[in-house]
Structures are given as structure tokens and as C-alpha cells.
Symmetry: C2
Subunit: 302 residues, 2 copies
């Protein structure tokens, strides 16, 4: 099924111990839709400025991503500048210029309104609900959020969570949202807020999936070279939701496979700056790494 995503498209400037790039293509919706495009058709809702080059739009189109909902506004594109030390799990934000993103009020093209599968990337929870209201009959809604909204817009976020089937957040955010240090207890509390399926990302350590009385632990992929973690979480969400939207099977077994496809996409994404690795990727490589994940975790019964 068609997968709708709303989020940011940005220029990122990133420094890691292994190199540095300036004003390269980034943003949650960009990483998400590119990763998801290996599995299903994606419809993008986002805003860019007058400075956003045609080559980036052409790239998204080359991945078969519907850019009808990519609005160009007067002003500059959202810019983010960050740095990673050897502790690659945590980005240190040096500068954020919201620019056209500041007044972004997503308005869905008519052709998007019958889409059934939706991913609300990390934006203001008010806007997340605003997008949902424009969709006629959403069937599967997933979202992301961050500490900024957990702290600053908690009530609005909780309203959004009531409408959400799947929440994908990292461990620090899960602890902050639930006000509970133990992740298992945190997961129970968060699932009571609405999302019956909860994925807690743990950076290089992998991810935990919580469904009804069921926990699945996906490993991190042990990479010899991690170049740039930017976009790992969004690539994870893209692989996960792309696979689910394509299969539309919400059995526990299938959701587990979706988590692994998410992990696969994240593991490729961190191998290079920006979307460079995803640009050169083909589906056979994705399947091969899925099988690597199986070898990585498999052990025989006693």
C-alpha cells in the first residue's frame, strides 16, 4: 500500500570523527521516504525553500517517491548543524535554522487523502494531528517524536498518541515520556497511552519491539565503519514502515521481520554521509543483510 510521510526536508552540516560535510541533503522525511522506497510507494509531505535544488527533487522522484506534497515556500530551507564524537549514539546540535519549516502547516494534496498508512515523523504534535484529520480513513498510523515535544508539548503529544498504532522512539525518550527508568515498565506505561506497538531504539545496540505481552530484541549490526549516524532512526522507521505497508500483515512474526528490515536500512545508512549509501543501494544487498542479521542472532535450542 501507498505510504504517506510528513516530516522535514533539510540541509545538514555534519562533523564526525571520520569527516565533515556541509549543507548536504537530510531531514527526517527524506531519510524515511528514501529507505521506505525500497519496499513500497511513498507520498511525501514536507516544505523546502527557494534554495532547494532540482537535483534533490529529481533524486526523490528517481526513487519513485510522490513529491506532489513537497511544497516550495518563499525563504530558505531548514538547516541543521551537528557534531558526533566517538560516542556516536548522541548528536550534539550546534545550530538549527528552522527557516520555512517554522511556519509549515501541512496541507495534503487531494491525491493523498485516501492513503491508509501514515508515518508522522518528528514534528509538532499539533501538526501531527492536523495531518491525520486530513486523511479520510487511516488504517495504520505510526509516529516518532523527541524530547523537545515531550518536555514542551506533553499534553498535545499525549492527544496524538491516542490516535497512533505504532510509536517509534529512542530509549531516552521512552524514559522521559513515561517518567520511568526501567524500559520494560516504561513500555507498559507508553502502550497505555495509545500505541499498542512500541519500538524503542537503542542506537548501536539495536531496538526493542513491545507488542501484547511480547518482546522482541533486534541487535545492532556490528559495523567495521560507522561514518555518520545522522538519519539512522529515520532510515530505520522507513525500512520498518515500508515493509509493513507493502505486506499489510500485522502478525507478530511479520512485525519482527519489519523491525529487522528497519535495522538493515539504518545499518546501511550510517556507512556514509547524507543519503549517499542509500543512493547506491540495491534490493539484493538489503536481502543479504537481512540474512546476516539472522546469522548474527541465531542459536539452536537445547
Amino acid at each position: 500500500m501507498e505510504l504517506l510521510v510528513v516530516g522535514s526536508v533539510a540541509f545538514d552540516s555534519v562533523k564526525t570523527p571520520f569527516g565533515e560535510v556541509k549543507e548536504v541533503l537530510g531531514g527526517s522525511a527524506t531519510y524515511f521516504s528514501t529507505a521506505a522506497s525500497f519496499f513500497t510507494n511513498v507520498s511525501l509531505v514536507a516544505v523546502v525553500g527557494e534554495d532547494f535544488p532540482k537535483e534533490h527533487v529529481d533524486f526523490l522522484k528517481s526513487r519513485n517517491i510522490d513529491t506532489t506534497g513537497l511544497v516550495r515556500s518563499a525563504g530558505k530551507t531548514f538547516r541543521w548543524k551537528g557534531e558526533y564524537t566517538y560516542e556516536l549514539n548522541e548528536a550534539h546540535t550546534l545550530d538549527t535554522q528552522l527557516n520555512v519549516f517554522e511556519k509549515f502547516r501541512p496541507s495534503l494534496p487531494q491525491s493523498y487523502k485516501d492513503h491508509k498508512v501514515v508515518f508522522l515523523a518528528n514534528i509538532d504534535p499539533d501538526l501531527q494531528r492536523d495531518v491525520l484529520r486530513q486523511i479520510n480513513a487511516p488504517k495504520l498510523v505510526a509516529c516518532d517524536t523527541m524530547n523537545f515535544w515531550i518536555e514542551g508539548k506533553r499534553e498535545s503529544l499525549i492527544k496524538t498518541l491516542k490516535l497512533v498504532d505504532i510509536l517509534i522512539i529512542n530509549d531516552g525518550e521512552a524514559r522521559e515520556l513515561s517518567r520511568e527508568p526501567n524500559l520494560v515498565k516504561a513500555a507498559s506505561k507508553i502502550r497505555e497511552l495509545g500505541p499498542k506497538t512500541l519500538i524503542i531504539k537503542q542506537g548501536e545496540y539495536g531496538a526493542l519491539l513491545f507488542t501484547n505481552n511480547n518482546v522482541f530484541s533486534a541487535p545492532g549490526y556490528p559495523l567495521e565503519s560507522v561514518f555518520d549516524p545522522t538519519g539512522a532512526g529515520d532510515s530505520f522507521a522507513g525500512g520498518f514502515m515500508g515493509y509493513l505497508a507493502n505486506s499489510m500483515n500485522l502478525d507478530d512474526d511479520n512485525i519482527r521481520r519489519a523491525v529487522i528490515f528497519g535495522s538493515v536500512m539504518a545499518s546501511f545508512n550510517v556507512e556514509d554521509f547524507s543519503l549517499n549509501r542509500l543512493k547506491s543501494l540495491d534490493y539484493q544487498e538489503i536481502e543479504n543483510r537481512f540474512r546476516d542479521f539472522r546469522r548474527l542472532t541465531h542459536f539452536d535450542d537445547i
Copy 2:
């Protein structure tokens, strides 16, 4: 096969966010041998002081642990005092009193010298080699170490590693020993120092096993209540080595199972202070949790 362990027997005083205990039974060799005793016969080499009560020795004997090598010296037993915050992965040492442990020079009873399987817990690497010299024909040697020896006795430690088949350390130690932040590269460098099998523990996130061109990722067990992480690493090593010593099968498949049995023992150990949980444990619970670990990580092929 009989499993020989040399390490510390101690009184621990521990404070966690969930409670506090004073001068309870602890020490690396205690946790190790108790965990291993569920799988094989264990022979203990350690030293205690005149203040070490008979009830603790009786407990070890009740687990079928050979205490011929448990020496009682004039003076007080080794004492450790530590604290954990909600960040349960890291112990903050408040006080260490080596006492009789300071002059500990392990001398193996005659009945131990033909043992083939040896675990050298975290002690001075000079002493680790000293123990090995007293064993006639060791077949499988594993060891642990810590940042104190990596920093202070690096050359001696490297000599010990040449004699070791399996090294079990945590991720920070692996990075420090190899002087390499990337764990995959760190593992390659460490394996070149001697131990062909390397286990890198990652606290609540699980453990990585590196063998020839092969990586296995064992998850952490998602526990609703973690009371006290003290002894988790030694319980892991005990379950791992106990299972290997019993099966004496070093196939990759069997080593992977051993890692899971190690993880099982660590997951039980953290559920209560001191060795309380291991004291009440039975083998059926161990097998059940082994199967929980399978359910936790299993996913179907595509």
C-alpha cells in the same frame, strides 16, 4: 569436565536505587562458581580472612563446589563497597579494602593440578599466569580482566592473553585494551593478542561473541526489576564456562548456546542482592529462560 576458577571471595556493601545491603557474600569467584555449579563441578581457588563465616563455606559446598583451594589467612576478608544510580550499567566504587587479598599468591591443591578447564577471574595478570603454570596440561583457558590492569600492567596482561583461549571483558575494557573505539576493529586487534574467542559484554544490552570471521549478538534480557547488577559479569562467565566445561564442544553453535546460558545466569543474578537469586534458582528455571531468550530474538527468514 571439572572447572577450576581463581578469583576473589569478598564481602560487598552495595547501594542501588532499590535498596541497600551491607557485608553480604560477593566476589568474582563466588558469583562465577555458583553460576557454573548449575552445569558442572567447580573447584575454587581463593582466599578469605578469619572473619569469613562457616555458613558461606557451607553454601558453596552445598552447590557441590570443591573448596579445598579456599584458603583461610590471618586477617580480614576482602571488602568492596559500591553504589549504582539509575544508570545501572556502571558501578561507582566507594571503598576497596583488599585485606588478605593483597598478599594472595594462589597455590593449587594437588588434586586441582590435572584440571583441564580454567577460568582466571579478574586478578593481577602475574597471578593469572602463576596459576596456569601450576596446571599440568590446561586444555581450555578463559580469563577476565579490568581497566585497572589494562592501564597499570599492560605488558603482563598481554603475556597472559597469549596463553588464553577465551577472553571475556566489557565494551569499555575492549576499547581501552585495543585503543580502538570501533568494537569490530577492537575485537580483531584483541584476537590477534591471543584469545581466538572473544566475548564483549555490553551490560543491559547483552553481549557480542567474536570467533573466526563470525559474530554472534546475544540480547540483554528485558527485566521488569533489576535490583543489583553486582556479579552480573561473573555470573555470565560462570554460566558460559560451566556449560562449555560440561559439553566440551567448541563448535560455533555450542559456544553461542554457552553465551546464552551465561546471559541467563546474569539475568537471574541481577534480580536480587548478593547471590540471593542464584541460591533459590533451579535448573528448570534456567532452561525456561533459555527458551525465553529464543523467543526474544527469533524471527523468520524472508
